[in-house]
């Protein structure tokens, strides 16, 4: 049984005569790998928890119970640390891009360029699914075309620095960057498609009549930005901690209790249905991406394809039943179905592509 504790960095062991030909590039790769292991995978934490479980609780790491306890403790602590650090840093950066500023930036642009900028801004603007409606109303009321608004709405929950770093911790930076690129492409393409279909009539008329408030533009001081970032960490931790515990619990069950055959029967690389199943499982779920991290890790450990796991994570973050229900209040059923269909379809497509790529590259 694969246990995280024994994941040694064998590749770093070099013989005495092997130093010739080491370039700065090798050094950089080494450094990144070291950072990855210690800051993201937190090998030191895995080892610490292993000592606790073995010597403190007297359980066998290789056994089911010991393995589950180790996974649970290690993952919960790791995720909370990542959560606090990432949310703080990202919220600080996001304080430079309040929705009002995004709206101003997008207001002056047209065509595909506007879609691209909207998709890019979606990755840095603070967003939780509770603000999809005020944002939609605020953007559309200010005259931004539907294409631009939807590019933003698709990219915002899907791609952000936190998910990129999380992905790098589960897979590697290549996959993480590919995720960002495909997420942005999906956002731009989806928004453009929606724009081409002339759905303006599907929007409730009151949206177009909404007042546009651009009050003063308060520029926060550094201390205010830090306070805001701290507040975000506190808010988000209070909001998502049950999901994290649940996610780690499910991850532990998959990791230690559910046999690999059962998992691959449902989600195996070679099964054509694994991607759609992952999408269907993920779409209705309302959870934070941090909660999906342990499940994704466990699935990868049981041989589920990269694409399938990405599809699951994207489906959980990009779409959720609560936000769809809320969006229905401002947008007609046809436009809403189109939005959900394009996003879901794109996610499934990405899953198939990544699964196929993984098979061909290994």
């Amino acid at each position: 049984m694969q246990v995280k504790v024994s994941a040694a960095r064998c590749a770093t062991i070099r013989g005495p005569g092997a130093d010739t030909g080491t370039t700065w590039k090798d050094g950089m790769t080494e450094l990144l790998a070291w950072l990855n292991d210690h800051l993201l995978r937190m090998q030191w934490l895995a080892d610490l928890v292993a000592i606790l479980v073995r010597d403190g609780f007297g359980l066998d790491i290789e056994g089911r119970i010991g393995g589950s306890v180790h996974f649970f403790l290690y993952d919960v602590v790791k995720i909370f640390i990542l959560l606090c650090v990432l949310i703080f840093c990202i919220s600080y950066a996001q304080s430079y891009f309040p929705p009002e500023r995004t709206r101003r930036i997008l207001g002056g642009r047209t065509g595909m360029g506007a879609n691209v900028v909207a998709a890019l801004l979606g990755t840095v603007t603070p967003f939780c699914s509770c603000s999809s409606i005020p944002l939609f109303i605020g953007f559309t009321g200010a005259g931004l075309p539907l294409a631009v608004t939807f590019s933003f709405l698709i990219s915002s929950p899907l791609v952000d620095l936190a998910s990129v770093i999380l992905l790098a911790s589960i897979f590697d930076w290549g996959i993480a960057i590919a995720y960002v690129v495909t997420g942005l492409v999906l956002a731009v393409a989806g928004g453009t498609l929606i724009g081409r279909l002339g759905m303006e009539g599907q929007v409730q008329s009151f949206v177009y009549a909404s007042p546009v408030s651009d009050h003063g533009g308060h520029v926060p001081s550094r201390a205010e930005r830090a306070a805001y970032a701290r507040g975000q960490v506190s808010d988000i931790v209070h909001r998502v901690w049950p999901y994290i515990l649940l996610g780690v619990g499910i991850g532990a069950a998959i990791h230690n209790w559910i046999p690999e055959d059962a998992v691959t029967a449902l989600l195996g690389r070679d099964k054509w249905w694994s991607v759609p199943v992952a999408a269907l499982a993920g779409i209705p779920i309302y959870a934070d991406i941090f909660g999906t991290l342990p499940i994704a890790e466990a699935l990868v450990g049981k041989g589920v394809g990269t694409g399938t796991v990405l599809t699951f994570m994207m489906a959980v973050t990009a779409l959720s039943l609560p936000s769809i229900v809320m969006l229905r209040r401002v947008v007609g059923a046809r436009l809403l179905t189109l939005f959900v269909g394009i996003t879901a379809g794109g996610i499934v497509l990405i899953g198939f592509v990544f699964d196929a790529l993984a098979i061909h590259l290994t």
Binding site: C130, P134, P211, S213, M326
Partner: protein, 78 residues
Amino acid sequence: MLIEILGTGCRKCIALGDNVQAALDGAGLSATVEKVTDIVEIAGRGVMSTPGLVIDGRVVSSGRVPDAEEIARFLRTP
């Protein structure tokens, strides 16, 4: 004077409510303070991120929680 606090009930909105009350008490003013929690109504006031603070129909802040001092300054300007 009508003060509206726009928010869906998260902790920041409650904190804003407390700060507004503190500002009113400190300035010795009284006003009708209402909480707007319906998300469509909030957006209809032109606010894109909560919590929002509206004084006599004018949006003075959104997406953050100004302290009692700043709110007092809002109350003073016509």
